[in-house]
């Protein structure tokens, strides 16, 4: 396993960071949660963040935390699927497809919510369980997956996820 400084990976996959934060902010706006501060991209840790106001309900907390996972994954598939088509079917690699694959996989790579997102979610999930929301129970394994994924990001799990969505999925379907 080889080590590449985080800021280089962040810089190389900046579209994913921006989409991730924009998705957080979008779900804040959809759920009418105040957005206090936002950084869409920086060459620092964290690469981006959204500071939002108090979240009152579990659904909002869930969507704000998991929203980027949905948006980034979806965009990755939408961009990569047609871009990868000529490579998979005709063994041809047009230049524009390479560019689109980079954008798509960069976005897919940043789909996983951060540990902070998971932490926010679990606090709300505990309250929601007390109120009898059965969906909240499902949050716990999800949070566990998020923690594991972030732990394994050292082993490029985020890149593997991006590649699985961008290349693996079309390869399976086509």
């Amino acid at each position: 396993m080889f080590f590449i400084p985080g800021f280089i990976i962040t810089a190389a996959t900046f579209p994913g960071v921006i989409v991730h934060e924009a998705a957080h902010m979008l779900f804040c706006k959809i759920r009418k949660v105040l957005v206090l501060d936002v950084c869409f991209f920086q060459l620092d840790n964290p690469a981006g963040y959204v500071v939002h106001g108090k979240v009152d309900d579990f659904t909002s907390a869930f969507l704000i935390s998991v929203g980027p996972f949905i948006v980034n994954s979806l965009l990755c598939v939408l961009i990569c699927f047609p871009a990868y088509y000529p490579m998979q079917v005709f063994d041809v690699t047009p230049l524009h497809s390479l560019f689109l694959m980079w954008v798509g996989i960069s976005i897919g790579m940043h789909a996983f919510p951060s540990n902070q997102d998971a932490q926010n979610l679990i606090g709300h999930a505990k309250d929601a369980i007390k109120k009898g929301n059965p969906l909240a129970v499902l949050t716990f394994p999800l949070v566990l997956i998020i923690y594991i994924a972030n732990l394994l990001s050292f082993f490029w799990i985020d890149l593997i996820y991006g590649l699985a969505l961008g290349i693996g999925l079309p390869s399976l379907i086509l």
Binding site: P15, L36, D37, F40, L75, C80, P82, A83, V92, S97
Partner: protein, 305 residues
């Protein structure tokens, strides 16, 4: 701006830069000392103090008057309208638009590959069902959509070759088959089709020696192949018709005997009838002419059997 005095070092610091630690107001330096001295200290034991006269967003000093609070934060009049309601910056909106364009572009730029693959699937279906005309058109269209994939061009030549063969245009068929014969795998049987086209050309040009030579060559290569036996029977019948030499007739009839089976197709029945007609009348006519002349089939007249 309000100030406070640190309980430990008695230094005066801005209220926003002070902390309450176990109920005591301390400066940042003394707070850090407390935290380091008590590593087990609960997180909520330390709280940053908030100066309600200083805007939490832009830091503007409101003097001695408390500012209005939004969500517990002191916010000045100019920051109040946007506080907590940060709009998406223009570049993000443009970026989202660019992303939407990218998604459409990704589909649009590569739609020709998707179309070509779809046509290719239909091409193989058409080949399977014997609709060579449709196969030729489909492969030609696929090759036009993806010109960089030369294999599609070869498939297009192959499709055209088959269609011309079926339309009894052996020269055009040969021209197309020659363009792909070195590039397609053996299961396409281009070599065999090329020979077929060459035999047809020889027949059309009344070059029956060449026709027979090609037919014998194929027969020697695979004497069990029904197509080779048919060709040999046809070429020998032509030679008999041309020369009247009995040896050609008997050999042709022996070849025709090998084609006997209980489940003949209409095409095979028509073919055999035509060969018998050729051997009987010594007249060589094309399949089209034969069908036109004998739409109900032909049989050796009763008295001549």
């Amino acid at each position: 701006m309000r100030e406070c005095t640190c309980k430990h070092c008695t230094k005066t610091v801005p209220l926003n830069e002070s902390f309450t630690v176990f109920g005591e107001q301390l400066c940042l330096a003394c707070t850090e000392i407390q935290i380091n001295a008590n590593p087990e200290m609960p997180a909520d034991a330390v709280q940053q103090n908030m100066d309600l006269t200083v805007c939490a967003k832009c830091g503007q000093d409101g003097g001695s008057l408390d500012l209005d609070q939004i969500m517990g934060y002191p916010i000045c009049m100019s920051c109040a309208p946007n506080f907590g309601n940060l709009p998406f910056p223009l570049w993000i909106k443009l970026g989202a638009l660019a992303l939407a364009v990218l998604v459409v572009l990704s589909l649009g730029l590569n739609s020709r590959f998707i179309r070509a693959n779809f046509e290719l699937e239909q091409y193989y279906e058409a080949l399977g069902s014997g609709d060579y005309q449709a196969a030729a058109l489909l492969s030609e269209s696929a090759a036009r959509h993806v010109p960089e994939v030369v294999d599609l061009q070869y498939l297009s030549y192959y499709g055209a070759g088959l269609a011309y063969l079926k339309d009894d245009k052996p020269r055009e068929a040969l021209e197309n088959l020659n363009k792909c014969r070195d590039y397609l795998p053996p299961n396409f049987e281009v070599e065999k089709l090329t020979k077929n086209a060459m035999r047809n050309i020889a027949f059309d040009e009344h070059d029956y020696d060449e026709f027979l030579r090609l037919a014998e060559e194929d027969y020697e290569n695979d004497p069990k192949d029904m197509w080779n036996i048919s060709s040999l029977a046809s070429a020998l019948a032509c030679k008999f018709a041309e020369t009247g030499i009995e040896g050609f007739r008997s050999r042709s009839e022996r070849a025709l005997e090998k084609l006997q089976s209980n489940d003949k197709t209409d095409e095979q029945v028509e073919y055999e009838m035509r060969m018998r007609h050729r051997l009987h009348t010594r007249e060589i006519i094309s399949p089209q002419e034969f069908t036109e002349r004998y739409p109900d089939g032909w049989e050796i007249p009763e008295g001549e059997k």
